[in-house]
């Protein structure tokens, strides 16, 4: 008798209550426009988020000095080939550029020319 009543009461449950019980608890608290179809992430996808597969790769041994040096072989400074002789002073200079020696000489000359030459009265 009691079982019959229980079964009847179960079938007679309000549809809303039934629906809310069937869905997970968290989504029932959310308003419907935010997506009532939110699913609790499974364990596998959670693991993928926290420990992506790339992070599980790790070097086995410390890279040796020799191997490290070999990898850095291409990183050296390149030689400058555009060096020529300055026709003014004969020293080395960059092609198509001013000679720094000549320019500094001239610049100092002009600077000293600008200074007040103290004349004795």
């Amino acid at each position: 008798m009691a079982s019959l009543v229980f079964q009847k009461s179960r079938s007679m449950m309000l549809p809303a209550l039934r629906a809310s019980l069937s869905k997970p608890l968290l989504s029932s608290l959310l308003p419907t426009f935010l997506g009532g179809s939110f699913k609790i992430p499974s364990l596998a996808s959670l693991l993928e988020e926290l420990f992506p597969r790339i992070l599980l790769a790790v070097p086995k041994k410390k890279v040796s000095h020799s191997r490290k040096a070999m990898r850095a072989a291409n990183k050296g400074l390149k030689d400058k080939h555009n060096l020529v002789h300055c026709p003014g002073c004969g020293g080395p200079k960059l092609a198509h550029h001013l000679c720094p020696t000549c320019y500094s000489f001239l610049h100092r000359l002009w600077k000293s020319g600008n200074k007040d030459n103290h004349k004795l009265l």
Binding site: P87, G88, L94, H97, Y103
Partner: protein, 255 residues
């Protein structure tokens, strides 16, 4: 690729960029030689030459436009006076850019922008040095250095006059490149430039001849300073009349 790009923007707004260029042009007219980055120099040269064209025109509208562009009224008489007369014969190309390496702070390529034929014309000075070096080399082929120092080199004016008239294929005392540079320097200038150039060449030849002697004198003076043998003073020792402090004495040769 740079297809169809009209001008550089310099990471600045239009008003900022224009003001920066106006400042650069005004500074160029004021000092006639400025050092800045290479792209800025190229854009400034372009604008400066247009303003100099206005200066050459000289009429009322040109004056109004130039005074609206330039930021210092002091350079206006220079523009309509000095530059107009200086560049009267020259058909354009009133500026020159010399590349000058890279700036240490940001490795930016730097250039010296100057007005052609200005009193401190860099090309003029360096050409004079090149001519001086080649003339001296030529003289040293026949004469001994000591004789050359005693007599000096006085024929620079004649050398320049003769080289000025030579054509492209002919051989002379100078290298073809140096001769061509010299001819370019003297093309739109008067006879004063020839005498100025010959004076600069003579000065540089004297400088070249004097440098080894000056170096030797310096070297001898330095060697004479160090006293060796029994009269050499050790650290801490004094000679009579020495008024140096104790710290100075204890430092000895380091001080």
């Amino acid at each position: 690729m740079k297809h169809g790009v009209a001008f550089r923007k310099f990471s600045r707004t239009t008003s900022h960029r224009m003001l920066m260029l106006r400042n650069l042009v005004t500074s160029l007219f004021e000092h006639e030689q400025i050092k800045t980055t290479l792209p800025k120099a190229r854009d400034t040269a372009r604008l400066a030459e247009k303003i100099i064209t206005l200066g050459k025109k000289g009429d009322r509208s040109a004056q109004m436009r130039a005074s609206a562009f330039l930021l210092k009224p002091e350079v206006l008489p220079k523009l309509f006076g000095t530059f107009a007369s200086r560049y009267a014969e020259r058909p354009g190309g009133y500026t020159r850019i010399h590349k000058f390496g890279n700036r240490p702070g940001d490795n930016a390529p730097v250039a010296i922008l100057e007005l052609v034929d200005n009193p401190r014309d860099l090309r003029f000075e360096i050409t004079a040095r090149a001519i001086g070096r080649e003339v001296l080399q030529d003289k040293l082929r026949t004469e001994k250095p000591i004789n050359l120092i005693k007599t000096g080199v006085h024929s620079t004016q004649n050398i320049i006059e003769t080289e000025k008239k030579l054509e492209l294929g002919q051989t002379g005392m100078l290298r073809p490149k140096t001769r061509w540079n010299m001819q370019k320097m003297l093309r739109f200038r008067n006879q004063d430039a020839v005498s100025q150039l010959s004076r600069n060449v003579g000065n540089y030849i004297d400088h070249l001849m004097a440098t080894p002697i000056a170096m030797k004198n310096l070297h001898d003076r330095e060697r004479r300073k160090t006293v060796t043998g029994e009269f050499a003073l050790r650290a801490g020792q004094t000679a009579p009349g020495d008024t140096r402090s104790v710290l100075d004495l204890s430092q000895g040769r380091l001080g």
